[in-house]
Symmetry: C2
Subunit: 211 residues, 2 copies
DNA sequence: ACGCAGGTAGACAGATCCGTCTATCTACAC
DNA sequence: GTGTAGATAGACGGATCTGTCTACCTGCGT
């Protein structure tokens, strides 16, 4: 792990010439294992040795695909972010702006019920890497900003008077909800949901077409 | 660091017979250094070697006071929690229940402006130790529950119809605000504060004597 | 038939980290 | 003065972690 100082200026996922890393059975296995272990146990708490062992992969193979543990961390976060972005865009295009806000809110309501819930990937990672210039932090910041912008867009499209500030507040609320839930569970979904929608549905906005 | 399994059943701060640890210049220095380093750099990222060096203390002295790094972590959290509890009780006794809620909200508004702000001690620690049975997690859970209960008391005293659920929601909001602020800063204090007080001041509650 | 890219197994090096131990020194109470 | 509790400096051991390296194998396209 890089000691928060010498971080390669660009820690891009792929090593080869054009675009993202080429596919490879071994690479996919590593990424899947890392995802499971990093999310469930924390990044710093999982050594590359363990990832290698549970990926059923040779040591050299691992380091060929990910020259550094940091590379793996970034690739892991990037793949998660990618999946999230794809899903959110699909929801937006198929169900419209209000569904986007519902989808973000759902991250709190539905996900935590699943077994092995441990909060949000990105928030946890940010807490583990205190140096804001760490490559992993960059990915986190970028992803949160992207989500916030999409929420802002959706609010604007719904005619909300202060989309940017409200998106910031909603992301804040979601962040707190997901952290608090991962810490001590969530008793009262109702109050949270009422607050959420009362912030979205200020006077002057159309009646909700969803839910 | 204990590997999330063998954790002493009771990791009490002091080693001596009665009550908490006895005072000692060396002990205080260690605790102060640990506080600074743990908060600023993260617990897992700071080795005992560094704490020892910057505390200007002999290695043996360190391990006499804190037989294990985990002991130090717990002592550190406990001291922070103690300070918080003392302050909150003072505010409550001197300024009443509404001031309690203002004080909790202030943790978001004022603290983040200070240099070296890195969010909430307890939230960050919880993110670093994924095992909920880790002694450090116990301290975090206990402290959050205590704060929540005091908020609930305050709301009840103010005549709020659903003090418990609202306390849960407010703590959630504060959690999100402090995490989001430590990640990307806080642009709009107004929206957050309006939301906060609109949750406190439901119809049927007296006009605010504070602020 | 040949070359080569990608995979494998495991030894190895250097750093770091946690915790123990010995031997010595100091300050203070009795 | 003497004993004891607390502090000190620093060596040491074992574990763990990241990353390198050698030597070998396999499958495939040409």
């Amino acid at each position: 792990m890089s000691s928060s100082q010498q971080l390669d200026p660009e820690l891009v996922p792929g090593r080869r010439s054009a675009g993202s890393a080429r596919p490879s059975a071994a690479r996919e296995r590593i990424l899947a294992t890392a995802g499971r272990l990093f999310y469930g146990t924390g990044i710093r708490a999982v050594g590359v040795d363990r990832v290698i062992a549970e990926s059923q992969v040779a040591r050299m193979t691992f380091f060929r695909h990910f020259p550094t543990k940091d590379h793996l961390v970034v690739a892991f976060l990037e793949s998660q972010a990618d999946a999230g972005r794809t899903e959110l865009l699909r929801v937006r295009d198929e169900e419209g702006p209000r569904a986007v806000l519902a989808w973000v809110a759902d991250g709190v309501r539905t996900v935590p019920t699943s077994e092995g819930f441990r909060g949000c990937e990105f928030i946890n990672t940010a807490a583990e890497f205190c140096d804001p210039s760490h490559p992993a932090r960059r990915v986190v910041d970028r992803h949160r900003a992207w989500i916030r912008d999409r929420m802002s867009d959706a609010l604007a499209e719904l005619g909300h008077p202060t989309p940017r500030d409200t998106a910031e507040l909603l992301l804040m609320l979601r962040t707190g909800a997901i952290v608090a839930t991962s810490l001590e569970g969530l008793d009262d979904t109702g109050a949270l949901e009422r607050t959420w929608w009362s912030l979205v549905d200020v006077p002057g906005v159309d009646a909700p077409p969803i839910r």
